[in-house]
Amino acid sequence: MNDVLDVILRLLIVFVVFLTFPLIIGQTEHKVMAHMQGRLGPMYAGGFHGWAQLIADGVKFAQKEDVVPAGADRRIFQLAPAVALLPYLLVLLAIPIGPDEGAVGQVIDAGVFFVLAVMGVGVLGSLMAGWASANKFSLLGGLRTAAQLLAYELPMLLTAASVAMAAGTVSIPGILDAFEWWWLPWQIVGAIVFFVAGLAELQRPPFDMPVADSEIIFGAYTEYTGLRFALFLLAEYAGIVVLCGLTTVLFLGGWHGPWGADGLGWVWTLLKTAVLAFIVIWLRVTYPRLREDQLQKLSWTLLVPLSLAQIALTGIVKVVIQ
């Protein structure tokens, strides 16, 4: 009975994190973007610096009519947001925030494979949405999504494999247990490639060609309204949480920090994740959108060779220190 309670409690905590963290990042994005552009951002909702803006947005989304286009493939159109959102919930289960047994939703033996596999499934949601909408722009968005995923899945996998090689395990807590501070310079190229490829997989600026609102009107999500559209947005921000959390635990040492390691490890994890999330927002404000061919070129001619070089380096160092 205790075990059942334990499982339920863990699931509940992960679910709460899944619902709140994306909102926090969304609100931070509103504010950070505004201040970087010399504005104030939302100031009225909730009173203090517009803290309740996203809650107000959520209420607005819930009130809107749920429209399904007449020409659309009804069932797939309605199923797509769930397919886009749920994988991130599953990935959150496997990300540990602290060193002890209780600080991870579920210890998974092949954790690195699990998170990458499940994250890849999320893209199916965008593809389904793009196809089922019966809209040219949506189909274009879906096509671009697929092309982008095929290009960026490979460097992401290769760099994750490099960390797994360094640690000698594919379990995420195992990788963190093996972490030493000098892994940071050793794996830095892999970390950057992983982060950039992850951004591309989330279709965040500057890799937002598939949703390009000023060209193809938000791509696969053109026809979506109300709550279903909100679910896609939530998936994007949950994706940011997942990507930043993964980069933190795989490359930045998760709960390891210069001081306060015992008991306060989770603070380090959250801090590193928050800094990475800030960088994601920063990149959105700073860089213009990459064109489709530039996007493909960046992956195949830069990121893939870099990640292969990182694997070679990892292998050499690993053999030398043994």
């Binding site: 075990d3 059942v4 499982v7 020409g71 659309a72 493939d73 797939i76 289960l93 579920q106 998974i108 033996d109 092949a110 494979f113 699990f114 990458l116 596999a117 499940v118 890849g120 499934v121 893209v123 199916l124 593809l127 389904m128 793009g130 196809w131 089922a132 019966a134 040219k136 189909l139 274009l140 879906g142 096509l143 697929a146 092309a147 995923l149 095929l150 899945e153 996998l157 395990t169 594919v170 379990s171």
Partner: protein, 232 residues
Amino acid sequence: MTLAATACLLATGPTTRTAAETHGFLSPTGVEIAFVLVGLVTFGAALVTVTTRQLVHAALWLVVTLGGLAVEYLLLTAEFIAWVQVLIYVGSVVVLLLFGLMLTRAPIGRSPDADSGNRWAALTVAVAAAAALVWVVVDAFRTTWIDLDGPAAGSTEATGASLFQNWVLPFEALSVLLLAALVGAIVLSRKAKAAAATAAGSTPDTRSTPATGSTPGTGRTPAPGSEKEGTR
């Protein structure tokens, strides 16, 4: 151990041991029941995949089929294989398939030409292949039972050790085969490109036709057009 497997273990915790001793077919454990149910769903999805007239639906049912297989691997404690199955097949192969469909023609609704005259030959081959596989598996593992309480037999460590200690030669042979396929694909695509370039040099007006000549249907209608074709 994953959540699903843990849940099954929790549900059947006290009975697993006794069942492991008797292995009766009439007193199945929770995991066995789950295995059969998931197997039925997978089989059904596979049937729909090959019989549906809607192309994209077939690809999406293939996702269900491949995902069901991954769950079966999980229930057999082969966790590593299960995640690789999701990563490669659901995450990459189906996405590539959908990409190809959308790039060529993916009408919403039924495709009248999504049927083949070879349907009976295909059925014969499929049944023969299934029979051979079932026979081999049943013959090889007739009395083998997986001990769910012990260390996972299909963990990453166990899989890696057996792959690189006992099965290195087939593994390497497979990798050479894949490399050959890769090189072959590059050669073929470059040849088509070169042919298109020379053809374009002689007749600049019909530049798009020779490039798509080898793959009928690719350039005939742009993707949005074919999609509209299906909706109207």
